[in-house]
């Protein structure tokens, strides 16, 4: 219904614009009709330029005030996430300064030097010194950013088996995620989609003869012990997917035919994150919105929405087909004890096979 109303409104606005244009046209008949800007046009548009500058600044302020708490920028839940956030904030401040100044100059000049009959522009074609300055300043600033960025990047991507991480396989398929833990030896057994045998419940194609595979644990949940470095080994069985874990500032594509990897250390448990003041506010706000929506749903005779409680998410972030928009799995970050208790309840691979 809202959509329909919007469309009607748009149609009316179109008609209105059309009419205004016609009136405009008729009013112009006896005037200078050259269709080249005259002093009056220059004056009006010059002032509009100033107005537009105000609009740009306004929309910037509104965005930062309303949505600028950036719930995903200030509360990284992983060790390296804090570094990314710092780099992000530095970049944002820089961008903000440059944006404010250059937009001011552009629009202010457009206003200040709006054309008038009889005025002559300054014949000013070149200035090596000026051009040198605005070549060298961006160069220096960017060099700084590049170096900072590269150090951060190398550090993030450097996690490998030498750091004794918890190795977890993320297995992507249209349209869900499975996980595989290495078991007691923390080593994943060999696997290939060619070995998948649905009848025997070997759904990830593990090599049944590989001793490392015997104690692997295949689940549909993702539990991480807090403070322990995890190294995700990622596989996909069909098309490209991307494992995106925004709260941990982590993302890596899952590519059929190869194993990709990404590692990080979660630092905040799900329970702790739910209790941070920002998250309490955010969740309360979301629930307010959901209650409003539910009222409408109930009126229509449908089920109301469930109450929302915060959970970390892993979501697919590479277009992967029809249900791409709903390919998600909860991530549960918990204490080592809770994690151990959970993993004990899971079946190991050799016991899960159907013979």
């Amino acid at each position: 219904m809202t959509a329909f109303l919007t469309i009607i409104v748009l149609v009316f606005i179109t008609v209105a614009i059309w009419q205004m244009v016609k009136i405009f046209d008729l009013a112009q008949v006896n005037k200078d009709n050259s269709q080249v800007a005259n002093d009056k046009d220059n004056r009006i548009n010059g002032y509009l330029m100033l107005g537009f500058l105000a609009f740009i600044y306004g929309i910037t302020i509104v965005c930062f005030v309303k949505w600028g708490d950036l719930p995903l920028m200030s509360n990284a839940a992983s060790e390296h996430g804090v570094k990314i956030d710092n780099l992000m904030i530095i970049s944002m401040i820089l961008i903000f300064i440059v944006q404010t100044i250059t937009q001011f100059l552009l629009h202010y000049f457009a206003f200040k030097y709006k054309g008038e009959k009889g005025r002559k522009a300054l014949f000013y074609a070149d200035n090596d010194k000026l051009e040198f300055i605005w070549t060298i300043i961006p160069t220096i600033v960017l060099a700084g950013l590049i170096i900072y960025g590269l150090f951060t990047w190398t550090e993030i991507m450097d996690i490998n088996e030498d750091d004794d991480p918890l190795v977890i396989e993320l297995y992507a398929q249209q349209f869900n995620w499975k996980t595989r833990y290495g078991g007691a030896d923390n080593t994943l057994g060999k696997a290939n989609v060619r070995l998948i045998d649905i009848n025997r419940a070997n759904i990830l194609g593990l090599d049944e003869s590989d001793p490392n595979a015997q104690d692997d644990i295949i689940t549909t949940e993702l539990h991480l012990p807090v403070g322990r470095t995890v190294l995700f080994k990622m596989r996909s069985q069909d098309v490209l997917h991307s494992a995106y874990m925004p709260h941990f500032r982590a993302q890596m594509n899952c590519v059929p035919g190869m194993i990709t990897q990404f590692g990080f250390t979660p630092t905040v448990t799900t329970v702790e994150m739910r209790q941070t003041p920002e998250m309490i506010d955010k969740v309360a706000n979301i629930n307010r919105i959901r209650v409003e929506k539910s009222k409408k749903l109930i009126k229509k005779g449908e089920e109301p929405l469930e109450r929302y409680e915060f959970d970390y998410l892993l979501l697919c972030n590479k277009i992967c087909g029809k249900s791409h928009y709903n390919m998600q799995i909860k991530i549960i970050v918990e204490t080592q004890e809770e994690y151990d208790a959970w993993i004990k309840t899971q079946k190991v691979f050799k016991n899960s096979l159907i013979n």
């Binding site: 809202t2 959509a3 329909f4 469309i7 748009l10 614009i17 244009v21 405009f24 050259s34 269709q35 080249v36 800007a37 046009d41 220059n42 548009n45 010059g46 537009f52 609009f55 929309i59 965005c63 961008i95 440059v98 552009l106 000049f109 457009a110 030097y113 008038e116 522009a121 300054l122 014949f123 000013y124 074609a125 070149d126 070549t135 960017l142 590049i146 960025g149 590269l150 990047w153 993030i156 249209q174 989609v193 649905i198 069985q237 069909d238 098309v239 995106y244 925004p246 890596m252 594509n253 059929p256 035919g257 190869m258 955010k282 979301i286 919105i289 998410l313 029809k322 791409h324 928009y325």
Partner: protein
């Protein structure tokens, strides 16, 4: 070169023209330019309508919509959009806007119109090739539009058509006939684009009039020249990727596929790599954004100088910046692939080259701003769109230093932040460049003027809507909202972003509807617009020395010779505030060599 051009004189005047040779299979560059423009506008209308449908779906995902029902038919049962068709809209919108509107529609129109006229040539080096390139392009447009109507739906794997999604009909309904047609259409499109580019390059190198040295070329021509070179270097790589993908799809090869288990069966593919496809795709895909934006920048340089009544500031630096951008554009493609699984060290290299490209871009922006300084700005609609381009190019370009930084890209990759960035920096900017070009050279194309007041309405509403749509998108992107989601309602986490999405959609609908003002102005003025004078903007370049009426060979009598650079605006010692390029230097007058 000049002798050849001079001897051409008078040749074509007695040529008999029929309706078909004049309006359809024309070999005249001015007519071909108009054909490109009108085809581009039609494709643009399709692309924009698609984007408006996408926005409505995102803002009101559960609600039936009469527009969907009317336009999508069985893809929107009871007016509720199907998830497959949403992805198809995403895909075709991207393809049409990038290739058919902003490559063919922009570069095709203005390269064809301006290259011969601004360098002082009778026509393109090969009129026949030129005609051929338009009609091949037209064929590819027809195939692309036709693909919207096939049974299983059009291609729906995103405009980047990454395999295996695009390779396997089992993975998605759009990867059947729809994808085949997409690939065929693009292969044909690339052939057209190569023919056109070769023609532009040869013409610019060989057919410049006497006195038109490379450093007296208008910046438009420099931009078209370098754009054509980038196209010739990078488009064949996409062609090869498309051909290999066709092989994988239809002939059982495994260039991009390996180890696939889908819908209960193992496929035979082994040894290929989807990452290889990503490399091949982005080897064109990244230069492509410069193929789109450089002509717009060239147009804007010209329009800003003319309407500021000032020489463009730092002419040689502008050329150097175009060359630097062109060179760097071919070695930055990996920044689209930081998290694709390629070696992280490569990521570092591409971060380095990517951030370097900000330097020539900054030079261009500063030079435009300085050109405005102490000018006598004639705020014609073309000038407004040019200033608008500088504004959106700055806003969109600056966030590039976040996306180009591999460490930061991890978290905003494939979110709405990316959508906001590239729509502002190359989508909206290039569209503004195209509009600036249309408003500025309309008199040259049609002999009539566009209505300026409609132009002002068009610009200001579009400008506000463009910011209203894309500025807030940065913020929902930073909040982690992924792109290409049919609906966000499965993620309570994103419920608080829904009001932003509604606001964005309202701006998008306004912005789309106001383009009707432009369309009306454009088509009405072809027939009823005010007749133009020969040089309405009092410009210095050669196209304005040609008669208003289009004739074969462009100039009656001799081709004008060139004695000065194209930016002698407000030069001291002259009565007028512009000195056309074909006016000889006065005694004692020095030519600027900037």
């Amino acid at each position: 070169m000049s002798e050849h051009a001079d001897s051409y004189e008078g040749h074509e005047h007695h040529h008999k023209e029929t309706f078909v040779t004049k309006y359809i299979f024309s070999q005249d560059h001015k007519m071909i330019a108009k054909q490109y423009l009108i085809t581009g506008i039609i494709m643009g209308v399709i692309g924009v309508i698609m984007s408006m449908m996408m926005r409505m779906q995102i803002a009101w995902p559960e609600e039936p919509n009469v527009i969907f029902e009317a336009l999508l038919g069985r893809w929107a049962p009871d007016g509720v959009m199907d998830a497959d068709i949403y992805l198809a809209l995403v895909t075709i919108h991207g393809t049409i806007m990038v290739f058919f509107v902003l490559t063919a529609g922009l570069s095709g129109t203005f390269s064809n119109l301006l290259i011969p006229l601004q360098i002082g040539a009778r026509d393109m080096a090969s009129g026949f090739l030129n005609m051929l390139s338009y009609w091949i392009f037209f064929l590819s447009s027809v195939i692309m539009v036709f693909s919207l109507f096939v049974e299983a739906g059009p291609a729906a794997a995103g405009w980047t058509i990454y395999p295996p999604l695009s390779a396997l009909p089992l993975a998605q309904s759009g990867s059947g006939m729809g994808m085949t047609l997409w690939l065929v259409s693009m292969a044909i499109f690339i052939a057209a684009s190569l023919l056109a580019s070769l023609n532009y390059i040869v013409t610019i190198i060989n057919l410049r009039t006497k006195g038109m040295s490379m450093t007296r070329l208008p910046l438009t021509i420099w931009a078209f020249f370098i754009t054509a070179i980038i196209g010739v270097v990078s488009f064949p790589v996409l062609l090869s990727a498309a051909l290999l993908l066709i092989m994988d799809r239809s002939f059982g090869t495994s260039f991009f596929l390996s180890d696939i288990f889908i819908q209960g069966e193992v496929l035979h593919y082994q040894g290929g790599s989807p990452v290889l496809f990503e490399h091949l795709f982005w080897f064109l895909g990244h230069p492509e954004v410069y193929i789109v934006i450089l002509p717009a920048m060239g147009i804007v340089s010209e329009v800003i100088a003319t309407n500021s009544r000032k020489p463009i500031f730092g002419y040689r630096a502008m050329i150097a910046a175009i060359l630097a951008i062109a060179f760097l554009s071919t070695i930055v493609w990996g920044h689209h692939m930081f998290i694709s699984g390629m070696n992280p060290f490569l990521g570092s290299v591409f971060t380095f080259t990517t951030l370097l490209i900000a330097i020539p871009s900054a030079i261009k922006a500063f030079n435009w701003i300085t050109t405005l300084w102490k000018g006598n700005l004639q705020l014609n609609p073309a000038m407004l769109f040019s200033i608008g381009l500088v504004s959106t190019f700055l806003t969109g370009g600056l966030t590039g230093i976040i996306l180009g930084d591999s460490a930061l890209d991890i978290n905003v990759h494939d979110t709405y932040f990316v959508i906001a960035h590239f729509h502002l920096v190359m989508g909206i900017s290039a569209l503004y460049g195209m509009f600036a070009g249309i408003y500025h050279w309309y008199p040259k194309m049609f002999g009539r003027m566009l209505n300026k007041n409609l132009g002002y309405i068009h610009f200001w509403v579009t400008a506000i809507c463009a910011y209203g749509v894309f500025f807030p998108m940065h913020f929902i992107g930073m909040a982690g909202l992924p792109r290409r989601y049919y609906t966000n309602s499965n993620f309570p986490l994103f419920d608080d972003l829904q009001d932003v999405n509604v606001i964005i959609t309202i701006f998008a609908l306004f912005g789309g509807v106001v383009q009707l003002v432009f369309l009306w102005n454009f088509f009405y003025s072809i027939f009823y617009g005010k007749k133009t004078v020969q040089n309405p903007w009092r410009s210095t370049t050669l196209e304005w020395t040609a008669p208003i009426k289009h004739i074969h060979g462009n100039w009656e009598g001799k081709i004008p010779h060139v004695y000065r650079w194209p930016y002698d605006y407000s030069k001291p010692g002259h009565d007028e505030d512009f000195v056309p390029q074909n006016v000889p230097l006065k005694e004692g007058e020095e030519e600027l060599q900037h």
